[in-house]
Subunit: 472 residues, 2 copies
Amino acid sequence: MQHEETAASCANEAVAALRAALGADIVSLPDEFGGRQFADWSGTPSTEPVALIRPRTTEEVATALRICHQFRQPVVTQGGMTGHAGGACVLGGEVALSVERMNGVVEIDPVSATLTVLAGTPLQVVQEAADHAGFMFALDLGARGSCTIGGNIATNAGGNRVIRYGMMRDQVLDVEAVLADGSVIGGQRKMIKNNTGYDLRNLLAGSEGTLAVITRAVLRLRAKPRAISTAWCGMPNYAAVTTLLGRAQERLPAGVSAFEVMWPSYCDFVRQRLPELRVPLASDHAFYVLLESCGADPERQSAAFEEFLADMLDAGVIADAAIAQSDADAAAFWAIRDAPAEYPRLIPGRISFDISFAVAQAGDAAQRCDERLRARWPQATILVYGHLGDGNLHVVVQEPGWTDDAIAEVKRVVYELTGEMGGSVSAEHGIGEEKLSVLGLSRSPAELAAMKAIKLALDPHNILNPGKVIAG
Amino acid sequence: MQHEETAASCANEAVAALRAALGADIVSLPDEFGGRQFADWSGTPSTEPVALIRPRTTEEVATALRICHQFRQPVVTQGGMTGHAGGACVLGGEVALSVERMNGVVEIDPVSATLTVLAGTPLQVVQEAADHAGFMFALDLGARGSCTIGGNIATNAGGNRVIRYGMMRDQVLDVEAVLADGSVIGGQRKMIKNNTGYDLRNLLAGSEGTLAVITRAVLRLRAKPRAISTAWCGMPNYAAVTTLLGRAQERLPAGVSAFEVMWPSYCDFVRQRLPELRVPLASDHAFYVLLESCGADPERQSAAFEEFLADMLDAGVIADAAIAQSDADAAAFWAIRDAPAEYPRLIPGRISFDISFAVAQAGDAAQRCDERLRARWPQATILVYGHLGDGNLHVVVQEPGWTDDAIAEVKRVVYELTGEMGGSVSAEHGIGEEKLSVLGLSRSPAELAAMKAIKLALDPHNILNPGKVIAG
């Protein structure tokens, strides 16, 4: 009780100093929050912060952190609040720093193919600005309208095009960020090659608000694809799936831009629960692959794509295939892969996993996972699908009426298997608060110690997003 | 004097402990070095180490570092000794740890498209193993026969194909490394997506032996190109050069795998000093571009490449062009770009710069650099060329009989200009010892402080490659 009072008065002192330095417009207090929500999409419990800071400039962020550093006041940075791991949730006692007012594209440099943007800008705004300038911004994910560039960098977001363009870190040339003590690094450089010491940009990408507040970034733009070829393939077995992946990378002139694999249970689920969607192939197959190739030359690409699929059919790699003849066809194929948007309605209370393995092991991992879960919960809904070109599996498990204990047990089964098989407990969603307890299944004690040493070096008072990524 | 004696005896105590723990086969003393050289390709003065450690296993590296950590004994890690920045030179008092015995490909996983390799393996061995397995390893540079994978990672090596495949860090899925205290991290993971906390792999890539000794890596393999299209283009002005780059990225079906730009002085130099090389176009142009596109579909790619160049000629973007009709033609084009291999013979005592800028600014930077140097040294040989698709310029300056003062002054002129224009003082060669004094032109005091904090967090006694990258 004594301790809580001390903490509260300390927080108040910090808040008072923040409000004095930055004003009431930037620093608001709980009675001024007006019903604002502070939770993200993960379902992680989130409380109210002791204050909300909404700076307009990097200098204001620096002032805020300097004061928080001085008063040992914890800070959680918030962007679009679309995270899946609770990284932006308020655990208790933090001030929330929202980058919502740092919103806008600063500059597009078409010759250097770069876009400079403030951290609070939604991903979709960046995509549209790039498109308007004749380029493509390569990151794409379902939350595009809400998620922010700062959050995309802080979580090193993934999405559908990683196989071709990489994760968010691969779209970033420089990051401007405010460190815990208020010092400002980076943010103006447009160079692709820059070997001048440690790569702070890649250290911040994926650090989930624990090392700095990202305020601005220089992003890399890509040539806009002028031709998109899409096919829906029925596959006889997992070996055929990986063979198709390898051959497609070797033979498709424009490479592979998406390689989405769905296990039969996933397609059965779509057929039964979303009958308005048309599953392209009538017959049943052991696996389904959505193959996409994005390139520059519509006619030649289309001919090469059809030739490739015909060869794969002849060779028995593919059992059956449908090639999209129109944008509407392609959209219909993607609608099946995008069915997870309907999960909240169709399978409430589901448990979702975002894990990854070596491509060679992902099929085995999925099978073992299914077997172990089935052995315990024969009636459960178990859906497996993913960006297999990157080794990334999404596993969704649900049984109506499950208790908290059962949920914990499902997680234990899946994460332990992931650890056993040398996989990653978080392929693209990050660690946040939610996966902190299983991080040790994918990272060794020496790695966790190194991460903690870096954290303490850059944030000695542990004010930045405590309780996330780094164990206390 | 007293201090030096203490240091010497301390070193001896460490060496004695190393020898006791690892044996004389692994730890050799100066009188056993047998004339071995300890300098790299940079020309940075290098002395003899107090001992040479040649471990065979990661465990032996760990034992060595544990002892060095305990005795505060500095360590310089050595690979192929082909660095350009003095990062592997012995400054005085260090033990040298050579990874030469940790040599070999451990595993190729063709389904996951990965290759696991020990750090001391030469790059060329990896390239050949990948090729033999039906893949390509994407990093390539002139020193391929001598440089090692560990050194490639430690320096984040660049080379000719960065525009398509990225730097060395983009070829690495996981790194096994021994930290200063002897703890071992990473080295087994084959996942492309893995968002489990801080990206230690990217932190080690480019850290030049100051954070860890790299012992093993999991590398990413790429599909082997089945068709290579190459052209030599004469360009009317710099705007046309950047226009060609943008259009090629947008329109070539297989994208751009090399975009090498040469300024006229460079081609004149080749014509005059290497008359055995055939410069493809007879007429003079403001710039020359070597354009390459690597893809999967020989016939269609070749047709599309020719069509693209014809369009660029029609549009006046290109003034004149020669398309390679054979491998011999392509080799002849590349021979001009590879003329720097003849520098030691043709322009001894030259000063070489490896700098980068935003693509939009690189032309202006080169011109200003030339003007400032010419104003002071009208007779100097000044050659400019580079991987312009990445903003990377190589500038070579020479005048016979220059004094040390003149050399220092030339460096000042070029690096100050680089700093003024927000460029990088080291695009691909790293900092080592040689560029430490100019690092502050490309990195802010806050960034240097953050780098130093990370260094001290992971290597509190500063035993790993002291005097390199991080100012003392």
